[in-house]
């Protein structure tokens, strides 16, 4: 008989109920190493040349026409596309799963560059609500201000706003980094699950409300802490990482990151449903 003892030996993850399912066929679980992730291409992605540059005037286009035109230009190998006259239109530059340098000469409306994976985006203007929502990877730099729900549910990449942002920045964030040069509104980091948020200015009320995990760094004043958000001591690795990240973001050259406030989850809301009523009250 086989030795049952060895097959019963569980990892910590398995004891928590994870990885216990049997995966077969297309559902088979795969883990990418960083090299593989770096070289990962979506099916149908275009081979673009960053030195091949063109302008696209979207003044008289709706968002569908503009996005199709971007796709067509990528299919022709253009790796740097400059969008002229975006004029606050919604949903521009969404769903780009390709390497690309995308520059907007003006402001975007709602849902700008949402659901992207890979492009480097620069917006020489302002963005409306839900900029870069669901971003997987890449870098997005906003030169002016941003609206509410900035970086909602992003999974990865760097999202940078050099001005101020509205409410609920990084709501439901699941990875990546959001960096804000100015102030941020209420409910920053609301229900965030992973990733990091850096705010160099002040933040509004209910910071990190109901956050599950992740880290928020604040340079200015905090309106109030949200449920289950607590202050945590800054470590040397925090300081080193912040310095590196701000340099990449072209922000806060002379900013003393060691004086920032670090906010993390108190984790009292974890397994909320299993808590006793009195415990629930304490957690909220």
């Amino acid at each position: 008989m086989a030795n049952l003892k060895t097959s019963e030996k569980k990892t910590k993850a398995q004891s928590m109920g994870l990885h216990s399912e049997v995966l077969t066929g297309k559902t088979q679980q795969k883990f990418f190493n960083p090299d593989e992730a770096e070289n990962f291409f979506y099916w149908g992605a275009y081979d673009v040349d960053f030195n091949k540059r063109t302008d696209l005037d979207v003044k008289d286009m709706d968002c569908k026409e503009a996005n199709r035109s971007i796709d067509e230009l990528m299919s022709q190998g253009y790796g740097t596309i400059v969008i002229k006259n975006p004029q606050g239109k919604h949903s521009l530059g969404v769903g780009i799963l390709n390497k690309l340098n995308l520059i907007f000469e003006g402001s975007l409306g709602y849902f700008g560059v949402g659901s992207i994976d890979g492009p480097m985006v620069r917006v020489n203007g302002r963005v409306g609500w839900s900029c870069a929502e669901n971003m997987m990877a890449g870098k997005v730099v906003i030169e002016k201000n941003a609206g509410s729900c900035f970086g909602a549910a992003i999974r990865g990449g760097d999202l940078i706003c050099k001005g101020m942002v509205g409410a609920r920045t990084g709501i439901d964030q699941k990875g990546g980094t959001i960096i804000v040069g100015g102030d941020a509104g209420a409910f920053t980091g609301f229900m965030m699950q992973r990733g990091r948020i850096i705010i160099l200015g002040d933040v509004g009320i209910n910071l990190g409300d109901s956050m599950y995990d992740g880290t928020i760094y604040v340079g200015g004043k905090i309106g109030s802490f949200g449920s289950d958000a607590i202050e945590s001591p800054m470590t040397k690795s925090d300081i080193d990482w912040l310095k590196r990240k701000l340099k990449v973001a072209e922000l806060g050259e002379n900013f003393d990151v060691s004086k920032m406030t670090k906010v993390v989850s108190g984790k009292k809301l974890w397994n909320y449903d299993a808590l006793e009523p009195t415990e629930k009250k304490g957690a909220i």
Partner: protein, 313 residues
């Protein structure tokens, strides 16, 4: 949803009718049911302008009951009789649609009593009274309403408007925005959001003698502010009080004959984009509203939670 827009020219007049039309048309996707304008027009400031309706628009997806148009004439006659009884002297009258009118008149007594008497006539509602306020609202998009009421050439200093998606009440003129700040002349309000303590506040205000013409929650803001100002508060004080007094999610604009204000709830749940310069302030639910009148690259921002701002002309 719903879309709101407003602008104020500081120190000069402009074609606010056309400007607001472009802003509201850009927000049509946020509210296709009805559109309303509160224009602060270049009038001589001597006489009162009363805009009122004697029936509803029953076309274009209206939820109102169809009426024989002949009742409108009967109701108009009753209004005319009541006006002469109250001592109001009508200098000019325009019939803009079968059911809506614009009267220019002289009147010197209490507006609250005056309004109560006029509105005691069946289906008659005063949309606005003021010396510069022209409040127009009807079913349809911004272009349709502007064309119907000839608003394209109206000049003035400031204006607020609303593109409505009906959620809390019917598709009709009485539930459309803007709401007049009864019984104050030249006060109007537009709102985007939902108020959750509408009935509690309404009962309290009705007990104090204030009137509600619709069951639209947004009307509460106009009445709430009017009641605060009636008790001596300034517009800004009333607006700041409303952040705690009104429950729910809201961004609203208020205009008086010489000012324009905005307030945003403490959760910042409803959008607002703001452009401010020395001679113009323009704001709307989305940036495209501002871009419709300022296509060049401009700096805009979202006001924060719980913010109240008031600008003077």
């Amino acid at each position: 949803m719903c879309g709101i827009a407003g602008l104020i020219h500081r120190g000069k007049s402009s074609n606010v009718g056309s400007e607001l039309q472009h802003m509201l048309q850009a927000l049509k996707h946020r509210g296709p049911d009805s559109t309303g304008y509160a224009l602060y027009a270049e009038n001589d400031g001597q006489n009162f302008i009363m805009r009122f309706k004697v029936g509803e628009n029953v076309g274009e997806g209206s939820t109102s009951i169809n009426e024989d148009a002949s009742v409108y004439d009967k109701r108009k006659k009753l209004v005319d009789n009541m006006l002469s009884e109250l001592g109001a002297k009508v200098l000019k009258e325009d019939r803009l649609t079968p059911y809506s009118f614009r009267y220019e008149m002289q009147f010197n007594n209490d507006l609250m009593e005056f309004s109560k008497k006029i509105e005691s006539i069946e289906s008659v509602e005063i949309l606005s009274i003021g010396k510069s306020l022209e409040l127009i609202k009807d079913l349809g998009d911004a272009e349709t309403v502007s064309e119907r009421y000839g608003l394209g050439n109206v000049k003035g200093t400031h204006a607020i408007g609303h593109a409505r998606m009906a959620t809390e009440s019917g598709v009709d003129i009485k539930s459309a925005h803007p709401f007049w700040g009864y019984p104050f002349s030249d006060v109007s309000v537009v709102h985007n959001g939902q108020l959750t303590n509408y009935w509690n506040n309404r009962r309290l205000l009705e007990n104090k003698g204030m009137r509600f013409m619709s069951e639209c929650d947004s009307e509460l803001i106009a009445v709430y502010l009017a009641e605060k100002m009636r008790n001596g508060a300034t517009l800004e004080e009333g607006m700041k009080d409303s952040l705690a007094g009104l429950d729910g999610v809201f961004t609203y604009f208020v205009a008086t004959k010489d000012s324009l204000g905005m307030a945003k709830d403490t959760m910042a749940a409803k959008p607002l984009v703001l452009y401010e310069s020395d001679d113009l302030v323009a704001m709307g639910s989305e940036e495209i509203a501002i871009r419709s009148i300022l296509p060049q690259e401009i700096d805009t921002y979202d006001p924060f939670d719980g913010e109240v701002k008031v600008w003077q002309i």
